[in-house]
Amino acid sequence: MKEQFTISVFTENRIGILSHISIIFTRRHINIESITASKTEAQDIYRYTIVVTETRDMVRKVVRQIEKQIEVFQAYYHTLDEIIYQEIALYKLPIKVIKKGAELEKIMRQHHARILSVEEEFLIVEKSGHKEETQELLEQLEPFGVIEFVRSGRVAIIKSMWRFNESLHEMEKHKQETLV
């Protein structure tokens, strides 16, 4: 049975890692629903968060193949109940919507959205949340004439108290032992 998995990949900072990771999905015809990359709390370690909908068995195989990449430290996969996650969405609306102030304000309040910027011809609304939530806001804003809409990839934090630095330390300890 396919379900949504969030894959977290910890890597060195090197050009080309993204391609290395993404071709592993391409080979097996797995669609990447979203991908984000950022630095982590650990120095010089980067983290990719990848969302896919696949069977657990397939995700496990792919994650093992990602981990084989020399510059990948570790890769994990989690179901939705194992992570806290968030996405951000931006909506560009024509400035004339100001005239419908009360109606717009109500929607904004309901959705905990905010106005990020007001320009001469348009304004930008920002909302963070899960995909369904930002999608719902999009649908409600559509009658106002959305000029542009963009949603970020997912960022996710694993619920357990695991720390990357600790597992890095474990890796080093193990290597010292096996070197002897």
Partner: protein, 589 residues
């Protein structure tokens, strides 16, 4: 520290004749990137490289000219020849094979061999020249994104644009290529990085923080596995190249001998265990032996050692060893549970895991179970093997040629095969006494692999007899490499088994495509004349009477020898597990 190195380097201006020595490590010398490439290779103990020059790699070639007394460069006739030769060299020596090519077409011509080395876990380092860094991404002359192209087929690849990076990158490359599950590494060097100078200091790489070559072995898994083996009544061991790559031939033998465990090999595992060993039950897979295939679906415990359940081994995987508990030992975690779900997966170097397992298993003989193998062997022997290797009439068979070569070399030769019918026959009928003696393209099935891999193998093992067994199709895919043999005067024995067909495809056409021989008939040239053209002693055999004598003559001859043997035009390889069938459905005819 760095400044101290530079000042000393400025003082020592005699880099011209300096070999790599211990003192170089300490002093650091000012040299060009291209010289650093050569010195890095020397520091890694490389003494033979295979390559082909061209514009973007010329600075390195200029250094190779200077260092030719220390580093033997073999000029191949095509870059594909260079990479296959490096593979053959690596597979026989256990060392890292090295090849070198220019940018663009030079680099792309390496691709087949790199993919081959990747799927067959062969440690090679490929060096390619690249256009100057200011031209990268501009579609410059002979520019190709070889890093992008080789990403899915290398264990690691990297582009060097700064000459200072050369020693560090080379050290990492060799470490990655040979550690853990070995594989190909590609280093792409821009022309400016070859020209620019650096302070050369070489330190071997022993650790990369994001990379764990030696897995953490879980003792509990070993204990569980031992318990399962001890309770088994019909245990069966499958072994692959992991035993050879892990240098664990002895540990493996002790393991099967103590447990009384019958064992069968994948074609890359062939020669890890001597052919005459009473527990050696032969070859697995599509054209493997009858007994091990049939009994895969009757054993109660299947122990896979350093192999990866290739589809040519498993047949229909949904009907593969379903009755058995499966223990899978592999150094690559991604292989465990990839194809076959393991009851116990042991992520470990076989060299570490096997002695621990041997310690915990009971001494047994499993005589009755082993009898079952012998019984089925008998059937195959009567129905197939005798006819294959001792025919009395009709055309010459591939089997009898291989059998005679095997007998005459007494199992001590390195046998290199190409891909196709002759490859299956070679693996089936050659008897081996020594490990690292069967060189073939297994995973990728690269026609054209045989000839260059064979001279690579011969250069790695100059004291051993090396025989290349090649079909008429595969021979013509890299036939230009006869030129390399001419130039290096390598004493290689080449046997072309000529049926004037692309035999394996023809066999499938006969069996599954109503004998519609679509483009598998070959109008071949006069191979003997071609051999003579390259200054290689050559002979053609068409009758059985001369066979044994002529093979002897070839083996005795001091120098390269090309022997063309005309074999049965429409001979088939049996047994066979047709695609989509289970291993138990193996056909004898």
């Amino acid at each position: 520290m760095k400044e101290a190195v530079i000042s000393k380097a400025v003082l020592s201006d005699n880099s011209e004749d300096s070999n790599f020595t211990e003192t170089d490590k300490d002093i650091g010398i000012r040299i060009t990137g291209s010289e650093a490439v050569v010195k890095s290779l020397l520091a890694e103990g490389v003494n033979t490289i295979f390559g082909y020059p061209g514009g973007a790699i010329m600075p390195v070639y200029d250094e190779l000219y200077k260092y030719q007394d220390q580093l033997h460069h073999v000029l191949t006739r095509h870059e594909q020849g260079a990479v296959h030769a490096a593979q053959g060299y690596a597979r026989v020596s256990g060392k890292v094979g090295v090849c070198i090519a220019t940018s663009g077409p030079g680099a792309t011509n390496l691709i087949t061999g790199i993919a081959d080395a990747y799927i067959d876990s062969t440690p090679i380092v490929c060096i390619t020249g690249q256009v100057g860094s200011h031209l990268l991404g501009t579609d410059a002359f002979q520019e190709t994104d070889v890093i992008g192209i080789t990403m899915p087929i290398t264990k690691w690849n990297i582009q060097i644009t700064q000459s200072e990076d050369i020693p560090v990158v080379f050290a990492k490359a060799f470490y990655i290529a040979k550690s853990g599950r070995p594989g190909p590494v590609l280093i792409d060097i821009t022309k400016d990085a070859q020209f620019n100078e650096l302070d050369f200091e070489y330190k071997k790489c022993t650790n990369i923080r994001s990379y764990i070559p030696i897995p953490v072995m879980k003792m509990s898994r070993i204990e569980e596995a031992a318990k399962i083996i001890n309770n088994a009544e019909k245990p069966f061991v499958l072994f692959g190249q992991g035993v050879i790559l892990g240098k664990a031939e002895e540990e493996f033998k002790q393991f099967i001998e103590k447990g009384g465990l019958p064992a069968a090999w994948t074609i890359l595992g062939l020669s890890a265990l001597e052919s005459s060993h009473p527990l050696n039950m032969g070859m697995l897979g599509m054209h493997g032996n009858y007994a091990p295939n049939k009994l895969t679906n009757e054993c109660d415990v299947l122990i896979a050692v350093g192999m990866r359940f290739d589809d040519r081994v498993t047949g229909d995987v949904s009907r593969y060893a379903k009755q058995a508990k499966i223990i899978h030992i592999d150094i690559d975690k991604a292989e465990i549970n990839k194809i076959v779900k393991a009851t116990i997966g042991i992520h470990a170097d076989v060299k570490d895991a096997l002695p621990m397992l041997t310690n915990l298993i009971d001494k047994k003989t499993h005589t009755k179970w082993i009898e079952e193998f012998y019984k089925l062997q008998q059937i195959e022997d009567e129905k197939i093997i005798q006819n294959d290797i001792f025919p009395t009439q009709g055309e010459i068979t591939m089997g009898e040629v291989i059998h005679i070569i095997s007998e005459k070399t007494e199992g001590n030769a390195v046998i290199v095969s190409d891909v196709g019918q002759h490859q299956m026959i070679t693996c089936r009928y050659t008897k081996f006494k020594q490990s690292k003696s069967n060189i073939t393209s297994g995973g990728l099935g690269t026609m054209g692999f045989g000839l260059p891999a064979a001279y690579g193998a011969k250069l790695a093992a100059p004291d051993r007899t090396v025989v290349a067994i090649i079909g008429d199709g595969g021979f013509q895919m890299t036939i230009q490499e006869l030129g390399t043999i001419l130039q290096t005067k390598v004493n290689l024995k080449i046997v072309v088994l000529n049926n004037n067909f692309l035999g394996m495809v023809r066999q499938w056409q006969e069996m599954f495509f109503d004998k519609r021989y679509a483009f598998t008939v070959m109008d071949n040239p006069d191979f003997v004349a071609i051999g003579h053209g390259y200054g290689i002693k050559s002979k053609k055999i068409e009758t059985r009477d001369d066979l044994s004598m002529d093979i002897q003559e070839m083996l005795d001859y001091d120098g390269a020898y090309l022997l063309e043997v005309i074999v049965g035009k429409e001979d088939n390889v049996f047994p066979m597990i047709p695609t989509g069938s289970s291993v138990a459905e193996i056909r004898l005819d």
